[in-house]
Subunit: 336 residues, 2 copies
């Protein structure tokens, strides 16, 4: 017993399918007489009618779908931004726009392939939480066909509407805090430089160090991935330096945790022997027995602004769709 289509409903009720369509719609329901409308709605429920969004999409030219590119599904911050984004996609608690979530893992051609799929599926917009310079071209091309919004990571060359965190200032906050605590020689364990996030955090941090006369380890230290494993490995590089710093700014909490575990293995105490600060304020940062000093990411703001950009852009209000950068917040705990 297949579910009925509009045509079948129309037949049973002896009205035209267009009447059914209007009666069940949000915006055109006023065009049909209240009693007919009720009759249609009741019948639709009784018969177990379920609209076919594929057909509706085709006709409308809008798929009520949004392509979401994310660099890493294991990253709590990305996920949380996506969560608020999705929550803001619903209207009156009803999900009208379905997100197509796809992960790039920062692989070279992943983004462009996924964007092709999105466009074939006629997404109404694309939100990228995965932009790297390698994807610049693909995103630019896409932006000529459909609104493209950047979140978390930006691309200076592109001038696309974006929802960002002030990563430079975040890095600066950490630097100022370390200086305040009396550190004179510090070190960064940087995330992979393919995304703007880490580059800006590094710039902000270094700038303040330079201004306030604090020395940084000369050779920059990068991790291949922003993971605890990579952070652990990176600590070896720190210890290869001639002089040992007294504080480490890890570019995110996952790296920081790796650093802390590595320090523990060397029998060093945090913050006594080495102060450690992270970035993002993930769940784990709060649970550690030496709670992590870190920078809280403006998750809600970024997610909601991305949603707002989406809504403005598909409504054609290009003027309202401005980029915004939100301020993160330093959370001082025990580790630094």
């Amino acid at each position: 017993m297949r579910r009925p289509s509009m045509k079948e409903l129309a037949h049973r009720l002896g009205v035209d399918r267009s009447t059914i369509s209007r009666a069940l719609s949000q915006d055109k329901a006023h065009l049909v007489a209240p009693e007919t409308r009720e009759k249609v709605r009741r019948m639709a429920i009784d018969a177990g009618y379920r609209p076919d969004l594929t057909a509706a999409s085709l006709r409308r030219g809008r798929s009520q779908t949004i392509g979401v590119l994310v660099a890493d599904l294991e990253n709590e911050t990305f996920i949380n931004v996506i969560r608020t984004l999705i929550a803001s996609l619903n209207v009156d608690g009803i999900p009208v726009t379905t997100p197509l979530i796809a992960e790039t893992r920062d692989k070279p051609n992943a983004a462009s392939r996924l964007i092709e799929t999105f466009l074939s599926r006629r997404v109404d917009a694309i939100i990228s939480l995965a932009s790297t310079e390698a994807d610049e071209r693909a995103l630019e091309d896409a932006s000529r066909e459909v609104p493209v919004i950047l979140a978390i990571r930006t691309l200076a060359a592109l001038n696309l509407p974006s929802a960002l965190c002030d990563d430079r200032e975040g890095g600066a906050m950490v630097a100022r805090h370390l200086v305040e605590r009396g550190h004179k020689f510090v070190c960064q364990v940087q995330g992979p430089p393919l995304a703007t996030t880490f580059k800006l955090r590094a710039q902000g941090f270094s700038r303040i160090c330079a201004d306030l006369g604090v020395k940084e380890v000369t050779k920059p230290i990068y991790t291949a991935e922003a993971t605890p494993t990579a952070g652990k490995k990176a600590l070896d590089l720190v210890f290869e330096c001639e002089e040992r710093p007294t504080a480490i700014f890890a570019h995110n909490d996952a790296i920081a945790i790796g650093v802390i575990e590595a320090l523990r293995e060397r029998g060093l105490r945090v913050p006594g022997d080495m102060a450690v600060a992270g970035f993002n304020d993930t769940r784990l940062a709060q649970v550690l027995s030496t709670p992590l000093t870190t920078v809280a990411y403006p998750i809600r703001e970024v997610g909601e602004h991305a949603a707002l950009l989406f809504h403005s852009l598909i409504a054609g209000e290009k003027d309202k769709a401005g980029s915004r950068t939100f301020m993160p917040e330093l959370i001082v705990r025990r580790s630094a």
Copy 2:
């Protein structure tokens, strides 16, 4: 300059649209003469033709789309199963089936609402990594319209094809190991009992304890969520018991980490003062300075079998689509 549709291509080439369709298809390309086929393909590329999957879906009655329900996007194990699942969805590296990923967070009505959306979008199948008893009805109803596959979590009452881990045996493995290490009085910090996973782990563990004459803390201890925060809180309950156990089996690694941090705060050493074992073998388990003894989840097997079920079911080969349960593996490290 909008991209052309098939109709436009056909016009330019002076052939019928059906010829274009066949020339560009995988399975019907042999019906068109080799030279025409080449001509069409070249032209399609030159003109920047991009098929409209919305239209194709409508006509075919298949959307080349799969609905994926996941309980928690922050859970590494879920994500990794989804990753292998998605990888197996591609044919020759080309993504033919797009996953619609949606998160339930184990909220009461989330699953049924999301399933409605999936069905409205005419997904070819639904894979649930989020099944709880509360969703039983919704999944059963859905399974009458579309293939439904269960992964990670099962529902005994439903008899749907599934890809699972032998959680009971996993729990048993931990129990046997603890007994081997000489523990006589142990404790479980169980995950929320709404999913089969945790219930089975508990059963398997308790069964072995009973068989081998090892005492368990009398009152079962549950966490509200499978997170470090919840694990930390749960340790208080352990210490409320009259007698203190010497080992804790945390139902997953996230809980275990919470437990360990809580122990550290009390100045207790792992495994000296308290042994701790987890479940899943997440990335973090390997990085801890006291590496976690845990049970490695058969991620690849579960993901690939789920994909296989999907492929069999949409091919109509119901017989080939059998449920399978894969064996996890105990990873002994330092913590227990």
